[in-house]
Amino acid sequence: MTPPKPMIEIDEVTKYFGQKLVLDRVSLTVNRHETICLIGASGSGKSTLLRCVNRLVEHDYGTIRLDGVPNTDPSFGKTGLQRRTGIVFQSYNLFPHMNVLDNITLAPRRVHGVPRPEAEDRGRAILARFGMDGFAGSYPEQLSGGQQQRVAIARALMTRPDVLLLDEITAALDPELVGEVLSIIRGLKDEGMTMMIVTHEMAFARDCADRVAFLADGEILEIDHPERLFANSAHDRTRRFLQRITQGGRL
């Protein structure tokens, strides 16, 4: 068997917001085609870690490599890093004044110079794949939360990124809409997408993650295969966190 190839290497990354230490020497390697779920209490730094990868947030110390190249490397140019990573947010963040097709073709057309017909063909194909073919001309406010989130995923995939970052993408959805979004993620995993997923859906994490990382106070306290971590974690804090979550009826 060939040794797994690292796609994202997070090495001793530290981040402060002002005086507040938010990430404390976090190290984590995500292999190609691997799915990592990040779990942890609110404020533990999950979103910040995700945003450091595509430089929505600039970390203070340490390095993050993408396919072996530091994400601060000038060879990425202005847009290379964004082309190779896609991020989806909890609140969708679609552009409300653009229709679905314009939302997802904005970056290919304006940033990467893809001609309009080609970008729109690609856009329609992705929408069709996600069961959104009838909605190319709709505006975000006309869609359900689940539909909006599917469009947001499509938007993130339009530049064919190597890495997908998902930040609690089902947290704002009504329970009956969660499934349609998670099944898309499941499909992407089966195709071999490399993903970092922040989630509170423990059942999904158990089912879909290759490894689960538990963050507390800006540190990765534990990272393990989901079965092991959920069934018998070595750490008190992890166990307490999982207990709280399951009492909330999430598992």
Partner: protein, 289 residues
């Protein structure tokens, strides 16, 4: 909601819509009659009180003299046409110049710091000085310098003064609209690789402008009246023409004519501004709900 024991009800179809959704003349008649009567009574009493005052004949002669009004009307109307032209020209310049200021101020790149500071100083300066003072300073002062290669008319420089002053307010309105766009929109645009300028151009500004339309409408109305300030530097607008008539006849009816023309233009715009504000509020409520 209606299952189980109520199943038989459902087969009969839904009940008819409640009466009175449409406009019911009979029900509306009495309240309408009461409002109409009370309006007549109150305004009639006011009119009676005014016209029966001892001074009324003199007032009517000085301010509401029909002959004087008719005599002054052509000149005042001609002046008002100047107002409209200046108003539209100045308005376009203000909207564009203020947009440039707001964009400069909202750029976050470090090298933009000097421009941001310049805009802040500009806005503080021009908001802090009365428009009238600026109009006098520019409209009389600059033509007096006889600068080579620059226009020498008081109208031009007075207009410039109005643009500079109003743009300071409008830039702040734009900025409040830009700030009101959710931070997540910037994050989304940045994550897609848009440059800061592209983020503004494609993601932020379209939303910001939509947010500030009602506030801008109020500026548009205020500006329409303030164009009359240019009369102090001799621009022959409606107010100036009316004043000239007043100076020769000692009758103020011409000013009332000018006032009527301004009202004719501003009242519909004020109603439109109200309507846009209301529509905007509805849109926000819907989005929140």
């Amino acid at each position: 909601m209606t299952d189980g024991p109520h199943d038989t009800d459902r087969r009969r179809g839904p009940p008819p819509p409640p009466p009175g959704r449409g406009f019911d003349w009979r029900a509306a008649a009495l309240p309408s009659a009461i409002s109409a009567a009370s309006i007549l009574i109150v305004f009639g009493a006011l009119a009676w009180a005014v016209t029966s005052a001892e001074q009324w004949p003199r007032i009517r002669l000085q301010f509401f003299n029909l002959d004087a009004m008719i005599a002054a009307f052509p000149r005042v109307l001609q002046g008002f046409w100047v107002n409209i032209q200046v108003w539209l020209t100045v308005l376009v310049c203000i909207l564009l110049w203020a947009l440039a200021l707001a964009i400069l101020r909202s750029l976050r790149a470090p090298w933009c710091a000097p421009f941001r500071l310049m805009v802040v100083i500009y806005i503080d300066l021009f908001r802090g000085v009365p428009v009238l003072l600026l109009v006098l300073l520019f409209g009389f002062g600059i033509p007096a310098l006889n600068l080579p290669g620059l226009p020498n008319s008081g109208l031009f420089w007075g207009g410039v003064a109005m643009v500079l002053s109003y743009a300071a307010y409008v830039a702040e309105i734009y900025r409040s609209g830009i700030d009101a766009v959710h931070e997540g929109q910037r994050a989304a645009a940045k994550s897609l690789g848009l440059t800061e300028w592209q983020t503004l151009r494609y993601a932020i500004l379209p939303q910001a402008l939509r947010n500030v339309v009602p506030a801008l409408m109020n500026i548009v109305v205020a500006l329409q009246k303030d164009v009359a300030l240019l009369s102090v530097i001799g621009v022959r607008d409606a107010v100036r023409e009316a004043q000239i008539y007043t100076a020769t006849t000692f009758n103020y009816s011409s000013l009332i004519v000018a006032a009527g023309l301004f009202l004719l233009a501003t009242i519909p715009m004020a109603r439109l501004a109200d309507y846009l504000t209301r529509r905007d509020r509805m849109r926000r409520l819907q989005m929140a709900g």
